[in-house]
Symmetry: C2
Subunit: 123 residues, 2 copies
DNA sequence: TCATATACCGAAATATTTTTCCATATATGG
DNA sequence: CCATATATGGAAAAATATTTCGGTATATGA
């Protein structure tokens, strides 16, 4: 996030502005999960990103709502229900996400060789 | 960086792999400064990114060398001299940087209105 | 009755990143 | 002789981010 910090983000630097919106641990992944426009419940997002602690998703989703990347609908039901849906602003970031995704796929092998596999296929 | 941490980066997620290489505070800016292929001395990089503490540039440049995004030449002179130059791998990230740059320019006004100017043109 | 699922949030513990300060060695210019 | 510039890095402080744990409230189904 770009504010309420002791050391504020330099909003005049376009690069750092953009980075500040997506650099937190799971924000880019969340955008990717919401990419098709279908709204998802928090529990569903957690299912799709099982390594993310639910508390972090909660925090990062709230920040993304504040930044206008995602919008939230709360249904006044019990047990509680809510949904997050990507906004037009959020979608405008998808080309960036796409390029990062394809760069990552293309170069993954090199970095796995370099630094070792971390999670999947432990043998 | 993607290693030597208690909580390792998931190198199997292409998005998080790519992010891990550029998400530190000044890495994307450094790549942008080195984009044209001309080597720069650390002191020159610091002149172009005056808000970055030299110590951070030092650390982040070392990590970028480790990741193969940048290469370093040390000249055995006194006073010491060294140069950093972007590699082909580093250049392959420039399309991502470019998109972040243009996204940032395009949307800057909204975020300045939203969160207030932070550094330049204080009035 | 009891475990489960639901969304969310406070609080504290950890982990990570960035900042600040100091130190190295030596050439140059005042 | 002394300040300055140079590249780098140790160490500690400060800032920020993430993780973990527990608690709210209520419906559902075993």
């Amino acid at each position: 996030m770009a504010y309420e910090k002791k050391i504020p983000v330099d909003l005049d630097c376009p690069l750092r502005l953009t980075m500040s919106l997506i650099e937190s641990k799971w924000k880019s992944c969340i955008l990717d999960e919401l990419r098709n426009g279908e709204p998802l419940r928090p529990s569903e997002i957690h299912k799709r990103l099982p390594e993310a602690a639910p508390r972090v998703l909660d925090i990062q989703l709230r920040e993304m709502v504040e930044d206008g990347l995602v919008e939230k609908t709360i249904f006044p039901e019990l047990p509680p229900r809510s949904e997050y849906r990507i906004t037009a602003l959020g979608q405008s970031l998808l080309p960036i996400i796409d390029r990062m995704l394809s760069w990552g796929k293309q170069h993954m092998a090199v970095f796995e060789k370099k630094y070792g596999r971390k999670y999947s296929n432990p043998e």
